[in-house]
Point group: C2
DNA sequence: AAATTTATATATAAAATGTATATAGAGAAA
DNA sequence: TTTCTCTATATACATTTTATATATAAATTT
């Protein structure tokens, strides 16, 4: 049985910058702009500065299903139009709230990381003297 | 058989901010200042702004052994002095070089993350209008 | 003498991620 | 027209990463 997203607090503790953690956020941000299906969401990563082959489709679809299971997004089959059927996702209120909170935490984590890098840089500079 | 540190490029690709990745770097930075044993290295994390209970001792000792296996540090038993025997680590030239390279990458990754967060912030602001 | 702290180590379990493969519609090329 | 490629989703399996639990033992504190 797959683990529920965010069931375990550890998922978002520590520095929270696991790859998928960021992908959750970017997918949600994309979906705020407009509903989209998985394949396009992966391609849209480029707009956020993430090479789309960083995220295998297998992972992307799993992330989306997990997010739906957690109530952050909802989905519907779109059968009209050209090509194979597409599962179109849209963000829920819960998803929007989640993203807002995630961003607050992420900013804090980024600051912490910045301090750590500066400290490490300081140690290396000291050594050069 | 344990996987060799950095054998798989993935270990340091993507955003590279997995917890242990940061711990490798902080341990190495600590060891540039002076040789230390595992137990104290964990306690020293606080100086870098990382709560030491973020890293269980079990993980810390494994990280140190992995780093030794990869030639980033070397170790010796210290039996004199008070308390149980301590395995004292010191950084190697390879370790120093590794840390310098890691820092360069980490800074780039941090910038990328910053941009992503800004973009997400932008999407959320847009929604508020 | 018993409990706690310091110190290292390993085994096991759980969680996260990556790779491989299956399916199938639609359009292009041979 | 049938073969190939692209779009699109999905799942199974494998690997990697991380956490928890436990074992050992010297030294110190109660």
């Amino acid at each position: 049985m797959r683990v529920k997203f965010n069931k375990n607090k550890r998922l978002c503790t520590k520095f929270g910058f696991k790859m998928n953690n960021i992908i959750y956020a970017v997918f949600l941000a994309s979906l705020i702009e407009k509903p989209l299906y998985g394949y396009l969401l992966v391609e849209k990563l480029e707009e956020f500065g993430i090479k789309s082959d960083f995220v295998p489709y297998g992972s992307a679809y799993r992330i989306l299903r997990d997010m739906e299971f957690s109530g952050l997004v909802s989905s519907e089959w779109q059968t009209e139009g050209t090509g194979p059927a597409k599962r179109v996702y849209k963000i829920t209120d819960k998803g929007t709230e989640f993203l807002r909170n995630w961003l607050v935490d992420a900013k804090k984590n980024l600051e912490t990381l910045e301090k750590i890098l500066k400290r490490i840089g300081g140690v290396l500079n000291e050594q050069d003297k």
